[in-house]
Symmetry: C2
Subunit: 124 residues, 2 copies
DNA sequence: TCGTTGTTCAATCTCTGGGTTGAATATCCA
DNA sequence: TGGATATTCAACCCAGAGATTGAACAACGA
């Protein structure tokens, strides 16, 4: 896996166990044992998942005697969300521009570029 | 990697090359060669990346003579975004409820639960 | 038809992710 | 101090990701 921030965050989210852990933490802090309880995997496996989440900045961990309470951190989620948002709407945008272009053509203006993207020639 | 839809989408996004490909496609359709051009990896590697994106539903591919134009599909992005959104704001929510609780305490009501999460006992 | 261009398939390599078990460490409580 | 509980570390296994190279397939154009 690539080690840039966004890749690490998306990779951390690409596992149902880890997403379930985050969902649980959204309801409040929890210890490793509490987090592991719903799953069939070993405690050590959960511990590894938590490390992945921590590395991604998605959780932070405190200390309370022998417990290591986990807490959800939302900033990386914001970052990931921002990336997605940038491309989520292009389909619509493209349609809007296409419709606008059609409108101009109908009204006799004509000759517009749909989306301004570079289009290298397909030479052979 | 887990094979549920959300995991497949997040895993597809967890690679900078694939994100760059999506970013390029947001500016319009492109062929494999066009998509591969900015990268130093082999064409075959890019072809594999496209397969991953296709499996995640993030792109669809047409046929135009010997070219296989790729097109961005935004629906899985919407899905991923929706998942993130559900947890992105809990920090704020928790703060809001905490502030509300403090407000109640100050006004003499007192005894409120911060966020209503279950908290199993830490028995030994 | 033949050469060229675009793309994929197949075999292979290496590295890492996610899982396991067993031992170690940390902290509490009697 | 010593036993119990919570958590992590270490070593290992296996499947799959991402890359490579070489060959195959598809479609054009002269």
């Amino acid at each position: 896996m690539a080690d840039d921030r966004l890749s690490v965050v998306f990779a951390a989210l690409a596992d149902p166990t880890r997403r379930a852990i985050l969902a649980r933490l959204a309801r409040g802090e929890a210890t490793v044992n509490e987090l592991a309880e719903p799953f069939e995997v070993s405690l050590q496996a959960v511990s590894k998942h938590l490390k992945v989440l921590e590395r991604a900045g998605l959780i932070t961990r405190g200390r309370d005697a022998q417990w290591r309470p986990c807490r959800l951190e939302t900033e990386p989620l914001e970052e990931a969300s921002a990336w997605i948002r940038r491309y989520r709407d292009v389909q619509t945008d493209r349609m809007d521009r296409l419709e606008a272009a059609i409108g101009r053509i109908r009204s006799g203006a004509g000759d517009t570029d749909e989306d301004g993207a570079e289009r290298p020639q397909r030479g052979q």
